[in-house]
Symmetry: none
Subunit: 203 residues, 4 copies
Amino acid sequence: MPKIVDHDQYRRELLSRCFDLFAQKSYGSITMRYIAQELGVSTGTLYHYFPSKQALFEQLVEEVCQQEILMAIAELEFTQTLQETMDAMGKFLAKHEDYFIKLTYIFVDFCQHQDSKQMWSSRMFRRVDERSRQAISKVIGIEDSTVISLILSLIDGVILERLWGNEKVSFTEQCTLLGKMLTAYLPEHQLNRKLNYKSYSVN
Amino acid sequence: MPKIVDHDQYRRELLSRCFDLFAQKSYGSITMRYIAQELGVSTGTLYHYFPSKQALFEQLVEEVCQQEILMAIAELEFTQTLQETMDAMGKFLAKHEDYFIKLTYIFVDFCQHQDSKQMWSSRMFRRVDERSRQAISKVIGIEDSTVISLILSLIDGVILERLWGNEKVSFTEQCTLLGKMLTAYLPEHQLNRKLNYKSYSVN
Amino acid sequence: MPKIVDHDQYRRELLSRCFDLFAQKSYGSITMRYIAQELGVSTGTLYHYFPSKQALFEQLVEEVCQQEILMAIAELEFTQTLQETMDAMGKFLAKHEDYFIKLTYIFVDFCQHQDSKQMWSSRMFRRVDERSRQAISKVIGIEDSTVISLILSLIDGVILERLWGNEKVSFTEQCTLLGKMLTAYLPEHQLNRKLNYKSYSVN
Amino acid sequence: MPKIVDHDQYRRELLSRCFDLFAQKSYGSITMRYIAQELGVSTGTLYHYFPSKQALFEQLVEEVCQQEILMAIAELEFTQTLQETMDAMGKFLAKHEDYFIKLTYIFVDFCQHQDSKQMWSSRMFRRVDERSRQAISKVIGIEDSTVISLILSLIDGVILERLWGNEKVSFTEQCTLLGKMLTAYLPEHQLNRKLNYKSYSVN
DNA sequence: AATGAATGAGCGTTCATTCAT
DNA sequence: TATGAATGAACGCTCATTCAT
């Protein structure tokens, strides 16, 4: 009888504990010894669960992409007005700022190690994008793809600004402003907001 | 001291030719041998101009920060309407997309190797931010810091989306939309656009 | 003690199935994992039967030395003439060529891991040599030690030539030639072949 | 100006100093650290001259094959009788016994790491064989391929016996006996020995 | 100024071996 | 008995860096 270990479950646990490490040091700068040490296992064990450093990194990105944290935005209680919704989103993002910065470190690092065009066309990133868009769309009740792109890009941009330490930019402030701008802009194009919301609320 | 001039001039030339290399491979993954090879010099020569890999990277970031390409936005011909200005900015960004993506790779990599908070407080990034803000401010004729942050963040965000290969998002489209939103939003707060611009042109 | 019998029996079975493996990859290049895999057992099981890789190898050599295949030459039907005997021996060797090559790989490998002088003085090899000599002696009906050494050495040499892929040399051809040479050489020294053989058959 | 080192010459020097090492420990058991240490250089230097352990080994075999020591047999002063020639050959082989044993270790090891059939068909071994045959042929004045194979195989066989420590077999004894057997055997087939010799001596 | 040979610490990875089950 | 997860020393190899030329 072998030691009773759920191989796949333990692999995933190790993986999730790698998240912070790969956010802290880039793929090229982190060492398997360091990872093993931080995880409290031996390098041998690391290689028992992952065939190579490369594979470990790829599985990490895969795993991270399958997480649903962006979806969590969709769980925001839908507040009465667009403005309130945007404010809530700002708070949510601010709360998870560290997570999103780490995510960005890992994704940028990952893209640098691949041909990114090819990557995007691969399932992973496309799936993450799709899910994020749906979440945004659901929360603010807009389906205009360009507007959603703008919201997503703004979020990305704020993450990036925070990532390199810009303290002048904050999620709450930016989301609030975005709310105001959307409010000022949208009515002209999308008057039937409430209807949209109702149809969403059915789901 | 003509020799020193030559030395420094050659150092800068090598540095500028390192830009693409560090964008392609991250600091941790690139090797001095590879850099030397790509630059067509020996490793010995590399070490003649730069005391270490770390120093080379830092000097590269320093050099890049001193470049004025973001300022170039300010050189955009001031077109009559805000919308036209934003459209022109979109075109400008789209044209230099590759450059901005490379810049982002290098900056993110750099931040990952430092304590980013500490970095921001260092002169370099703060200076770049300040210059970018002034450029935006001048071009758009707006002084509201939060609005400028939003514009900057949106640009950063689109770069990031393009970096990881998202072809759904484009600079031109986003800038155009941003123009519309600003037009819809701003009048309420800032009707005297021309005046503002003039006051900037005085500085 | 039936259990011990089973244990030892299984150990020997594993050992015999290791023969091909150690002939294919040398001691230094083969791994316990690979052996276990090829044997269809776990590494744990391997260590249950053999205390170490070194011991496994030594037991393999020991086992191989105890095999009687060289003796099998003695089982050759004693044919009327020396020439016929040598021809039969050539056929026998050619038939088991692969086995002898593998044996040689293993023995050479083994010698390289020991101080060979010391090894020879160890019982194993001496025993194999002695048995081979007796077998040859019996079959050929000659006692002259130097002649037997020549026959043995020639066989070894042909194995070696075959081992490194020389297709110009063949057992049958060489044994036939050796038969002719012995026939031409021996009568002068040893005319009473039959008598000798009989004297051997008495032992 | 770089350090003045004849790269290829130094490479060959290192190579020749590897001969004993690879004879002592097999390819799979020797380590680059050990080789470097024994050669008195760093591992980095080793890799500066050889792209890999595999390549080092192959170059060693290549180098060894290009050596002319077997040819040296041909340099034996041609003594009056076949018997004297064989006796001289025996002495020559006995004198270089250690070298031939080492050579055998290396060749066997090499064959085990390749598909030997394929190897033989490759130039190296074939060339060595051809040269050896010519040397033998020249020295004893015989062209019969099977007889030459027998002589070569016998030499190989004695090397092998010596390699695994058999002290009962000696080059001088075996060569002397072989001389007698050839003398007894050849006249029937090859009466014009002197003629052959003369034709060789012309070359 | 420029080269590239030299170094040895350290990298990703593998290995024989141990041991809880 | 049999398994395979776990270990960490050691492997082949690479790296930033130094230095004689």
